[in-house]
């Protein structure tokens, strides 16, 4: 644990990060910006796992290993999303969310 910092402050920071990510996810109109917001959300969740692991159960490693898995899944997700975005850009020359609807059929 960090000297002089209570668990509430750390959880507050991670909650704020999470909701800023949600805000960006809803308001942004660009696929890459949506991806950035998803990264923020994942980071908020990972910080939460680590903080609860460190403050409440310091003798086990479960939370830490879960955040390692979160990082691995985020890397895979980013690679896939970016390949889809680049492929879309080749086809419709745009990465705006509303343009992507034309790909449905």
């Amino acid at each position: 644990m960090i000297e002089g910092i209570s668990i509430y402050e750390l959880l507050t920071v991670s909650t704020i990060l999470f909701f800023i990510g949600v805000y960006g996810f809803i308001t942004r109109k660009n696929l890459i910006s949506v991806l950035i917001s998803v990264e923020l959300i994942l980071n908020g969740a990972a910080v939460n796992f680590v903080v609860i692991n460190k403050y409440l159960y310091p003798e086990v490693l479960q939370g830490m290993i879960f955040s390692i898995f979160i990082i691995a899944v985020a890397a895979a997700e980013t690679a896939l999303a970016i390949s889809i975005i680049i492929n879309l850009y080749r086809k419709i020359s745009s990465v705006e969310v509303k343009e992507v609807e034309t790909m449905k059929n």
Binding site: F18, K29, L40, K54, A76, S83
Partner: protein, 174 residues
Amino acid sequence: MERIIFYALALIMIASALASVMSRRMLRSVIYLLFVLCGVAGVYFMMDYNFLGAIQLTIYAGGIIVLIIFSVLLVHHIEMRMEIAKTSKLLFTGLACALGMAVFLSVIYSYEFEVTGQSSGTEVIDIGEKLLDYGEGGFILPFEVISVLLLAAMVGAIVIAKGTALAENKNENT
């Protein structure tokens, strides 16, 4: 001392996160995201989770940011500004997020966490043994599943990104 460092980190993280979701320039928003990720790594380092902080720096700040910057440079003009949503939508979403945040924070602050005082540093060898442990409480199965998932994601990314070109080559060959 730790308090000051933590508050500075938290301030940088929150300000950069806000700037990252509000900036109208693509590349700047990615760089602000980089600041957030480095701040999170700093928090991990402060909690004595050195391995996790190093992973955060190398994979997130080193790998994912570079991927996103590449895709921004490939699909965007640097000078182009993004259009933003309508003001009413922005306000409504901000209000909804503030409401959700208030609910979360009220739940967090009303719960009594039983914080244990003692804590020891974590060695990398413990993490490795835990990941490869096939006994009770071990993580060998998710570890293997993650490796298969990464392989599948890489193959899928290559196939999607080169989809039409691969298909055309095949048609020419036959």
